[in-house]
């Protein structure tokens, strides 16, 4: 069975590349889907087939969410994700450069599962992504989807 996708919401091309590289280096085989702004991310998650009424894309195993993204910012995206029953239990990890207390506090208040500050040192970044993937994709038992 094909493993579920990882959704990366990030607009910085360099960071996208580095994240992909870090995942590969960590031998995480899940497909990385990238949404470059908040609207793209929500569309990926909630786009519905008009015929079937079902969502087009399968829900990802993990969302890596940057806070500072164009259009809808990361916190707004997180609020939408948590407000919708289909996605309210999805693991969302905030992956950002900000270490402002406000950002951290708001993220957790809105239901972020984890908050990781991207280190400047790439080696440390790789280590962080490695731990993250190992934890959320392998060790963590995912929550069952909510019954309709």
């Amino acid at each position: 069975m094909k493993p579920k996708n990882i959704l990366l919401v990030e607009d910085n091309i360099s960071d996208i590349g580095l994240t992909k590289r870090a995942l590969q280096k960590s031998h995480i085989v899940n497909q990385l889907v990238v949404a470059e702004d908040g609207l793209d991310a929500l569309e990926y998650l909630f786009k519905t087939d008009p015929q079937t009424g079902q969502t087009v894309n399968e829900l990802p195993a993990l969302i890596l969410l940057d806070l500072k993204i164009p259009k809808l910012d990361g916190l707004q995206v997180l609020r939408r994700i948590r407000a919708d029953e289909r996605t309210s239990r999805l693991p969302v990890v905030i992956l950002t450069t900000s270490s402002e207390e406000d950002d951290i506090a708001q993220s957790y208040d809105l239901g972020a599962n984890s908050y990781i500050r991207k280190p400047v040192d790439f080696k440390q970044f790789v280590t962080a992504v490695q731990h993250l993937g190992l934890y959320w994709l392998v060790m963590n038992e995912p929550a069952p989807p909510k019954k309709r």
Binding site: S14, L18, R21, K68, E100, P119, V120
Partner: protein, 953 residues
């Protein structure tokens, strides 16, 4: 005539009384002698009966002793016992039987036993004299065993056999001669009471109709009659009386009572009885005789006595009647003589009565009805005899105070006469008259009457009264006058008369002043001489001002008016103390001047308004602000003047109603602060309103200016605050960008440099690789710089929460962390325990971390590093210090130490961003403290900082 009847009746009553007293005396004497006789008879009967009883007791006792002695003899007779043994061994032996029989027979005959017989212990009869066929009574059989057990002679008391015969039996137990424990038989001596006992009891030694003796035995709750009584032949062993009937002498005796007593016998007849118990027996003896028999002789005596009394009474009454007639005769004769004398006297008095100028009247005491009046009465009252006839004084309403008559009657009843009683009378024409009255009780036809003589004292009384009233009036006037009044002599001797006020003025008591010469009361003798001259020339002095001395020697300013009576040398005058008035006048004048001076020069308006709203005063400099002169509005109505200023009118009305009022009023461009104070009199009515108006125009203008400035200032502050807030927001946005946007490209540079190294390692020579490493190192350093800068800027923004914080504990934790970080280092932390300060714990943790990390870093090249945290005092202030023995720095550059990005050492020696100490300084400054450092190169550095205590809030 009626009087005479009364008198003779009186005499008769006397005689009847004497007669009755004598007869009663006789009757009492007779009764007394009857009682004596009765007592004597009873005494005699008692003696008799107890003597007889004693005799009978003796007889009974000796009879019993004889019987028992006889039986005792038989029981101890060994010959008889042998005979009985022999008879019992051989009953058929005729000779023995005959001998035994003859023994028993001789005993029977000698002592009059009815029968003597012998029983075997089993109760079988063995032998009997006389020989009969009688069966043995079961009662007797029952006695055998107890008798044998007792071993001695027993009397079986009165008992009745089945054939109703009455017996007494003596039981004699016989034991074998050889063995006294072996009962052989019992000999029975059978006694018939009729033989001896009953005749003994029934016999009475003197002749008597009712006397008898009762022999009794107690039997359970009854007493049993043992003998045949005089009035009941069947009584023996049959008649019983219950013990509850204690009125019976028989019962009393059975209950142990002895002596003589009166009671009721078995027939219910009253008897005199003697009660005794018979010694050594269960018997009681009652000897009695009917009371009737005892007192029979008394009746004859009673009749004799009565006859004597009757005869005596008859004799007394006869003699008394004779005496009475004699006296009555005497009395009538004396009466006739007295009546004649009275007639003569009456005529004499009748004339005196009628002709007396004083009013004389006779009234019945009982109801006050006029019996007789004289001419004087008619003159005084206007009533003629026909007008008063049959009427009472109260009917005529002649007593002005009816209580006066009441008093008159009461006094008369008490003492018989009244003299000089003053009373008011209302005469016929309604006028009031005062009378002086004397009266006396007079008996007419046996009924009490009042004769009174009244003298008309109306005129005298009125004159006296008028005089008294006048005297009193002037006396009061004199004494209660509010000015001092006095009488004295021209010669200056002691005061003759003076009133209270006079004493008060000179502070003397009446007693003291009596002995003070009037001349010595003058403070200045010249004034007195002047006064005397005035009096002598003009006869009087008016409003003469002078100085007098009071008791304490103080001068009293007085004003006197006097009049001289030249013929007596007497001065009459009045005096008033005007000391206080003078002083008060002075004080008032001064006060008024003072106040006027104050008010007139004060920058305000003072005014007074009367209850009608009219100004009575207006003063003060501020008047000129209104274009007014002092006093200009006096006499004008405030209501008229200010009818265009409703607030003034309202304030005046309000204060006139009693409310203190204050308001601000603008009049013709001038602003006044006016205070209206109502002034009350003793009744609480407003008598005036005192007002003070303060010109506050300038103050008002200043206030307005200040108000305007305040508004301006607030506006400016608001603007500045807004600007500041905007600046803060921009700053935050900048910080956010720094943290986010500046770091992202750095990560890119670092990341892709690393990718280059990894992916193209084989194509890069060592030099190229070294460069790439450099690129990465610089990138990371920049990351650190950004982080430190962010922390520094954040410190200025976070809010501080100060509380008591244990710095030692925080430092200890940081030290542990540092040691773990580089466990290979030889380093010793010397942290003084329990250093506390009031501060924000997060900020101070950051500061201590920076300082300790610094020390840790700069001692990294020491062999034995020492880092100390402690407390000391610098210039009287508590200071904390962190000392290390590390590299130290050149104190010449000390001022650059706390600047951002300032470094003291080469990067290659001690890496760092140069922001740490700037951070520390900012934290200390935010706490209001100071920080400085002392250092020597190669020897180490000490950082000092202070954390002042909270300003008390």
């Amino acid at each position: 005539m009626q009087y005479y009847d009364e008198k003779s009746k009186h005499i008769l009553i006397n005689y009847v009384s004497i007669f009755l007293i004598m007869v009663i005396g006789l009757a009492v004497g007779g009764y007394q002698s009857y009682l004596n006789f009765k007592h004597e008879f009873q005494q005699q009967a008692t003696h008799q009966i107890s003597a007889i009883a004693k005799l009978k007791i003796n007889n009974l006792e000796s009879w019993r002793m004889e019987r028992m002695g006889n039986a005792e003899f038989l029981s101890q007779n060994s010959i008889l016992t042998s005979l009985i043994e022999k008879f019992l061994q051989d009953p058929q032996d005729t000779e023995t039987k005959d001998r035994l029989f003859s023994r028993l027979e001789s005993a029977r005959i000698s002592y009059h036993y009815r029968r003597v017989f012998m029983l075997a212990p089993s109760g079988v009869e063995r032998i009997s004299s006389p020989a009969t066929s009688e069966t043995i009574d079961p009662h007797l059989l029952a006695e055998i065993t107890p008798t044998l057990a007792a071993g001695k002679v027993r009397l079986f008391d009165f008992h009745q056999h089945q054939d109703k015969t009455i017996h007494l039996s003596i039981l004699i137990p016989i034991y074998a001669n050889q063995n006294i424990n072996q009962p052989l038989s019992i000999i029975v001596l059978d006694i018939d009471p009729n033989t001896y006992l009953y005749p003994l009891l029934n016999q009475w030694p003197i002749p008597s109709e009712t006397a008898e003796t009762l022999l009794l035995r107690r039997d359970g709750q009854t007493v049993l009659y043992l003998n045949i009584t005089r009035f009941n032949k069947n009584s023996a062993m049959a008649l019983r009386s219950p013990l509850t009937k204690t009125e019976l002498p028989a019962v009393k005796a059975a209950l142990g009572q002895t002596g003589t007593a009166i009671g009721v016998d078995y027939r219910g007849v009253p008897v005199l009885a003697d009660m005794r118990s018979v010694p050594n027996s269960p018997w009681f003896l009652v000897s009695k005789i009917d009371i009737a028999e005892v007192f029979a002789p008394l009746r004859a005596r009673v009749w004799e006595t009565l006859a004597f009394i009757g005869i005596t009474a008859l004799a007394i009454s006869t003699s008394l009647i004779m005496l009475w007639r004699q006296e009555l005769l005497h009395f009538y004769r004396a009466q006739a003589e007295a009546a004649a004398a009275l007639q003569a006297s009456n005529e004499k008095f009748e004339k005196a009565f009628m002709l007396s100028p004083d009013a004389i009247n006779i009234n019945r005491l009982q109801d006050g009805v006029y019996i007789s009046i004289n001419n004087g009465f008619t003159t005084l009252t206007g009533y003629t005899p026909s007008e008063v006839a049959g009427k009472a004084s109260l009917d005529l309403n002649i007593w002005a105070n009816p209580q006066d008559r009441q008093r008159l009657v009461e006094d008369l009843q008490k003492t018989g006469t009244v003299t000089n009683l003053e009373a008011k009378f209302r005469v016929k024409n309604g006028a009031m008259k005062d009378g002086l009255m004397s009266a006396s009780i007079l008996e007419i036809n046996g009924a009490p009457h009042i004769i009174s003589i009244t003298h008309d004292i109306t005129e005298r009384i009125q004159a006296e009264k008028a005089l008294r009233e006048s005297e009193e009036k002037f006396r009061n006037l004199f004494n209660n006058a509010k000015i001092g009044m006095f009488r004295t002599r021209l010669d200056g001797s002691e005061m003759v008369e003076f009133n209270q006020k006079y004493l008060q003025i000179l502070n003397y008591t009446a007693e003291e002043l009596k002995f003070v010469p009037s001349a010595s009361l003058w403070a200045d003798p010249r004034e007195r001489e002047e006064m005397i001259k005035l009096l002598k020339t003009k006869g009087h002095a008016t409003d003469f001002e002078c100085n007098m001395l009071n008791k304490q020697g103080e001068i009293k300013k007085c004003v006197m008016s006097m009049h001289l009576y030249p013929e007596t040398g007497m001065i009459e005058g009045s005096i008033q103390d005007i000391t206080e008035r003078k002083m008060a006048e002075e004080a008032r004048r001064e006060s008024e001047e003072r106040y006027r001076a104050v008010i007139s020069n004060a920058p305000l308006i003072a005014f007074i308004i009367d209850p009608q709203g009219v100004f009575t005063l207006s003063e003060g400099k501020a008047l000129k602000n209104l274009g007014l002169q002092p006093g200009q509005v006096v006499g004008q109505s405030a209501f008229d003047l200010y009818h265009n200023y409703p607030s003034i009118i309202a304030a005046i009305k309000n204060s006139l109603s009693g409310q203190p009022t204050r308001n601000e009023t603008e009049v013709e461009g001038t602003v006044f602060d006016v205070i209206y104070s109502p002034i009350f009199n003793a009744e609480g009515t407003v008598v005036k309103v005192i007002g003070v108006a303060n010109d506050i125009t300038i103050r008002k203008q200043a206030e307005k200016k200040i108000l305007h400035l305040n508004v301006e200032l607030e506006k400016r502050v608001r603007e500045r605050t807004e600007q500041l807030q905007n600046a803060n927001k921009e700053m935050e946005a900048f910080n956010y960008s720094v943290s986010h946007d500046l770091r992202a490209p750095l990560r890119g540079i670092d990341g892709w440099s690393q990718a280059l190294l990894e992916d193209y390692q084989d194509q890069l020579d060592e030099q190229a690789q070294e460069y790439i490493h450099r690129v990465r190192a610089e990138t990371q350093r920049m990351g650190h710089l950004i982080d430190d800068m962010l922390q520094l800027s954040r410190l200025t923004r976070v809010e501080m929460t100060k509380k008591q914080v244990n710095l030692s504990a925080i430092a200890q934790a940081i030290a542990e962390r540092l040691k773990q970080h580089e466990p290979q280092r030889q380093i010793h932390f010397n942290i003084q325990t329990d250093l506390c300060a009031e501060c924000d714990s997060h900020l101070m943790e950051a500061a201590l971390a920076n300082l300790l990390e610094n020390a840790f870093k700069f001692t990294s090249k020491c062999a034995a590093a020492q880092i100390t945290l402690g407390q000391t005092e610098v210039e009287g202030e508590r200071a904390f210090f962190i000392r290390d023995n590390g590299a130290g720095f050149d104190m010449n550059y000390a001022q650059k130490l706390f600047g951002a990005f300032q470094r003291m050492h080469k990067e290659s020696e001690f890496p760092g961003t140069g922001i740490g100490l700037a951070t520390v300084q900012r934290i200390i400054h935010r706490h209001g403290g100071r920080i400085w450092a002392e250092s020597k190169i190669g020897l180490g550095t000490t950082f000092y900082f202070t954390l002042p205590p909270f300003p008390p809030t």
